[in-house]
């Protein structure tokens, strides 16, 4: 996975960075936007929503453009005629705008999960992100037995669920962000 992500950076960063920098953005903006694009792309590949119907390059370009447009909108600026690269391509361009979530939403997700204790984060990431079994987690975290790990995992997920239940606005943000 690490090598795949690096290959995406090496093959695409420069050209997509150029797009942002030529449309009112700084290099730092380009780096931030590209990082968002890679996160969105990996997420889509994992959810099997990217099936290679367009080239990766075209897909990333589209994500990059919409991400940057969102950011400009957030800053109260518009590209319209000042867009130097990519104007006139709208007819043929992929519509990926719905796949790029807003930055605030992503920060809220990170903040939400970050509010859990370190052990909870670790157990939930191992189980739901790394797809480790309870017995594999047991070997990693030195709990007494599988039932203890299972209980802990349940409590951690329940804690996260409670945080979502208690905050309807956050819940709606999550629904928009995660289910687009």
């Amino acid at each position: 996975m690490e090598e795949t992500i690096k290959a995406i950076y090496r093959n695409n960063f420069e050209s997509l960075c150029w797009y942002v920098m030529n449309n009112s953005g700084s290099r730092q903006d380009a780096e931030d936007v590209f990082q968002e694009v890679v996160v969105a792309f990996i997420d889509l590949v994992k959810k099997e929503k990217f099936r290679g119907e367009s080239t990766v390059k075209t897909f990333l370009y589209s994500l990059n453009r919409h991400s940057w447009l969102n950011e400009l909108k957030r800053r109260g600026r518009a590209l319209t005629r000042e867009e130097k690269y990519g104007s006139g391509q709208d007819r043929t361009e992929l519509d990926t705008s719905h796949l790029i979530a807003n930055r605030e939403g992503k920060e809220q997700v990170a903040k939400l999960v970050g509010q859990l204790g370190e052990t909870c984060q670790k157990i939930l990431l191992l189980f739901y992100y790394e797809n480790l079994s309870i017995s594999e987690i047991l070997e990693t975290l030195d709990y007494e037995n599988e039932q203890v790990v299972r209980n802990k995992k349940y409590k951690c997920l329940k804690q996260l669920e409670q945080m979502i239940t208690e905050n309807p606005i956050l819940k709606q943000t999550l629904k928009n962000l995660l289910h687009g």
Binding site: M1, E2, E3, T4, I5, K6, A7, Y9, R10, N11, N12, F13, E14, S15, C17, W18, N22, R27, A30, E31, Q35, V38, V39, I42, V45, K46, F50, G52, T55, V56, K57, K106, V109, A110, L112, V113, Q121, L124, L125, Y128, Y129, E130, L132, E136, L138, E139, T140, D142, Y154, L157, K158, L160, E161, I164, T165, K171, L174, K175, L177, L178
Partner: protein, 254 residues
């Protein structure tokens, strides 16, 4: 929260994790059809799970991002139309490769520290260190009989020789106690240093590297593995392959 609510919540999590049997699942689906609050709870649990997955990707990419930014420090320059065409052509070719890599990425998701450890770990054979003419010690006998708790007890009462620490550390490893195993291996290396000896050093370095992998101390594992790989005469030189090192690096950034 009363017990029945708690039990239902647990069932929801098991349902979410795909762990319910057919009848349990059918019963829960019937409950879900009749209870909107239960539906809301399930939806929130699903959102919680998705939030964790989203957070995982973000963390992983963030770890690689800075590394790549350092690698690509060269400033981006504007390019002319000809160069752009060449670059786009090259990028299209590279994209084909990336599509391939993206789909093979699933193979990498299955990699875990425990799996990598298990693929490379073999129980140390103590008979290889003693010939037929010398008597085996009590600790060696207990070890050969896989009485690991006894090995540990004997080591604690013994003279503090390298072999005793080593066999005790392997025993902890067999009992899935990474922390104590690491402590034991480190004792061997400290003892080596203090008495200027190299007894059991190479065995210890190899098994310590594997323990670090299982304990997810990837930087420490890589440091130890690189040390072994840089020493062609090392007893475990051939075991530390480039492929193994690459896999550990991959785990590090996951």
């Amino acid at each position: 929260m009363d017990n029945s609510t708690h039990n239902t919540s647990e069932l929801l999590v098991q349902y979410l994790d795909g762990e319910l049997s057919g009848s349990e699942k059918d019963n829960l689906v019937r409950l879900l059809e009749a209870d909107t609050s239960l539906n809301a709870e399930l939806e929130n649990l699903q959102l919680a799970r998705e939030a964790v997955r989203s957070y995982g990707i973000k963390q992983q990419v963030a770890g690689i991002h800075q590394q790549m930014m350092d690698e690509m420090k060269a400033p981006v320059i504007k390019i002319g139309p000809t160069r752009r065409i060449i670059r786009i052509s090259m990028a299209v070719a590279a994209s084909v490769l990336v599509v391939f890599l993206s789909f093979t990425a699933y193979n990498f998701f299955t990699l875990s520290s425990n799996k990598l450890f298990a693929d490379n770990y073999h129980l140390f054979d103590v008979s290889t260190v003693r010939d037929d003419n010398t008597d085996e010690t009590l600790i060696e006998k207990a070890y050969k009989e896989k009485k690991y708790q006894e090995v540990i007890s004997l080591a604690e009462k013994a003279d503090g020789l390298e072999e005793e620490y080593f066999l005790s550390a392997i025993s902890y490893l067999e009992m899935n106690n990474n922390t104590k195993a690491i402590e034991g291996f480190k004792e061997v290396l400290l003892l080596n240093r203090d008495v200027k000896s190299s007894l059991w050093r190479e065995e210890t370095e190899y098994y310590l590297a594997l323990t670090y992998i299982r304990n997810k101390d990837y930087d420490l594992a890589l440091e130890m593995m690189n040390k072994i790989q840089d020493t062609p005469g090392h007893l475990y030189y051939k075991k530390i392959t480039g492929k193994l090192i690459r896999k550990v690096k991959m785990l590090k950034w996951r």
